[in-house]
C-alpha cells in the first residue's frame, strides 16, 4: 500500500515546532518536486481549485515570487496582496484584514510582516494554515528549509556538519530559524559577527561565538553569509559599512585557508562587496542561485503537505 506522510504542526511559524522527522519529510518531498520545474510544462494539477493568499507587509522579490510560482506550479490560484496596497493603510487592523480575507475562503495564508510574532498572532484568529514568510527579526522558516535542502544536496547528510553564520545576527530571522533547525538536525553552529551585531546571551542557544572571521570559518563545512540590513543600520551599531567590510567581508583570500569542499550560501539579497566579495559570490563554491531554485521546491512541498483539509473549512 502507499506510504503516507504528515507534518506535526498545522502552521509553519517557527522551526522550533518542526521535529527532525518533519524536516526530513519536507526535504524529501521538496526533492521530488524539483523535477517539475525542469519540465517544458511546469505544472501539475494537484492543488487545482485551491486558493493561496500571499500577504506581504514588507518588500520582497525572491520570497514572494517563490511562493507565487510554487502555488502556480501546483495549479492553485495565487493572490498577492502587498501591505502598501491593502486597506491597512486606511487604518484597518491586521486581524481585521486577515478575518476579511478568511471570509473569502482561501485555503492557506502566507504572511510576511515587519513585526515579530505577527503570523503567530494571526493563527489565533483564523482557522487556516499560516506559513510565516518572515516576521521581523524572529524567523523565516521556508528560508531555513531551502538552506538545509541545498546543503543536503551537496553534503549528502546533514548530521555532524559544522556551519558558520557570519553577519548581522541581531536582525537576522534567517539566522534564528537556522540556528534552531540546524541543531534539530544534529549540526553545530558557530556565529561570527562584531559584538554590536550579536544579541546578548545568544550563547544560551548552544552556539559558539567568535569575533574573528578567519578563525570562525576555519573548519566550517558550510559558511552562511548574512546580508547587512542597510535599512536597519540607522541605530549606530556599526561605525561604518567600510569598517565592517574590512573585517567581515568574505573574500577569496579567506577561502584559501578553508577546506576545499566548504560551501558558501547567502539568503539574498546580496550587498556586493560589503558582506561578500564579487569573486566569492560568483565562484564555484557559491550556491546562492541553487538556493533560489530550491526555494520553489520547498514551498511546493509546504503547500502540498499543509493543504489537505479541504473539509476543515466547513463548519
Amino acid at each position: 500500500m502507499t506510504q503516507t506522510t504528515t507534518l506535526s504542526p498545522r502552521n509553519i511559524i517557527s522551526m522550533e515546532n518542526l521535529t527532525a522527522d518533519d524536516i526530513d519529510t519536507i526535504l524529501d518531498t521538496a526533492d521530488s518536486f524539483k523535477e517539475i520545474s525542469t519540465r517544458a510544462i511546469k505544472k501539475v494539477p494537484t492543488l487545482r481549485g485551491r486558493t493561496i493568499i500571499n500577504l506581504f507587509f514588507e518588500p520582497s522579490t525572491r520570497t514572494r515570487t517563490s511562493f507565487e510560482i510554487a502555488g502556480k506550479r501546483l495549479s492553485a490560484d495565487v493572490i498577492n496582496i502587498s501591505g502598501a496596497a491593502s486597506s491597512t493603510v486606511k487604518g484597518e487592523s491586521l486581524i481585521d484584514t486577515v478575518k476579511n480575507l478568511e471570509a473569502m475562503n482561501p485555503d492557506i495564508l502566507v504572511v510576511r510582516h515587519n513585526c515579530s510574532g505577527a503570523p503567530a498572532l494571526i493563527t489565533q484568529y483564523i482557522n487556516r494554515p499560516i506559513i510565516n514568510a518572515g516576521d521581523g527579526t524572529h524567523e523565516h522558516p521556508s528560508q531555513s528549509l531551502l538552506d538545509l535542502l541545498t546543503i543536503r544536496e551537496h553534503k549528502g547528510d546533514l548530521k555532524g556538519l559544522k556551519v558558520t553564520i557570519v553577519g548581522d545576527i541581531t536582525h537576522s530571522r534567517v539566522a534564528r530559524s537556522n540556528i534552531c533547525a540546524m541543531q534539530t538536525m544534529g549540526m553545530t553552529v558557530k556565529l561570527v559577527a562584531p559584538p554590536p551585531l550579536l544579541p546578548a546571551g545568544i550563547e544560551q542557544l548552544g552556539v559558539e561565538v567568535c569575533h574573528d572571521l578567519a578563525k570562525g570559518i576555519k573548519d566550517a563545512d558550510v559558511i552562511m553569509i548574512l546580508r547587512i540590513q542597510l535599512e536597519r543600520q540607522n541605530q549606530g551599531l556599526l561605525s561604518s559599512l567600510r569598517e565592517y567590510s574590512n573585517y567581515f567581508c568574505l573574500t577569496e583570500e579567506h577561502l584559501s585557508n578553508v577546506n576545499s569542499d566548504t560551501l558558501i550560501i547567502h539568503p539574498g539579497p546580496v550587498n556586493r562587496g560589503i558582506e561578500i566579495s564579487l569573486d566569492v559570490m560568483e565562484g564555484s563554491r557559491s550556491l546562492i542561485l541553487n538556493q533560489v531554485t530550491n526555494g520553489v521546491a520547498i514551498r511546493m512541498a509546504l503547500f502540498y503537505l499543509l493543504l489537505g483539509e479541504s473539509d476543515a473549512n466547513s463548519n
Binding site: Q3, T4, T5, T6, T29, S32, K43, T46, G308
Partner: protein, 178 residues
Amino acid sequence: MNTIILSEKDIARAINRISHEILERNKGAENIALIGIRTRGVTFSNRLQKKINCFENTEVAIGALDITLYRDDLGVGLQKPELKKTEITFGLEGKHVILCDDVLFTGRTIRAAIDALIDFGRPASVQLAVLIDRGHRELPIRPDYVGKNIPTPKSKRVQVFLKEIDDEDKVIIQGQGK
C-alpha cells in the same frame, strides 16, 4: 487466508511472454519506451526492459512515474501519500509508450498516469502492461498486455511481491469473503 496465485516461475514466464507480445505488436523495439508506475510498476518495467534488450540486442528507453500529484483522491485529510521522484529523461514525441503497473484494479491510477504522461509530450501511442488484472474497473480503461487475469471479489486484496523490493517473487490474494 492467503492464497498464492502466481509463483516465481509463473511471474518469470508472464514477463517473458509480455516482452514478446510488446515486440510483436510494435514490430520490434524501435521507438518504444517503457514507463513504470511507482513503486512495483517500476520493477516490472525494469524486468521487461532487460528481456526486450536481450531479445532485440538494443537499449530500450525507460522511465519512472510517480502519479501522486495527479490522483483524484488527494485532499482528504492531512495524511499525504509519500511523494517519490518522476524520472523521464527522454522526449515522448513519436514514442510508443508502454505504461507498466503491477495490479490493474479500478483504473484510476492509470487515468492519473496518462494525464501525467501527456504533460511530458505527445506520444505516438500509449499501451498498458500489467502483471495482474483483477477487474472492478471504475473507468473505461483496458490493458494491452496482461500477466494473468484474476477475477476477485472487491473485498479481497491482491498483493504482488517482487524480489527487488520484497525479497521474493509471488502474487497472493488476501482476505475473507467472496
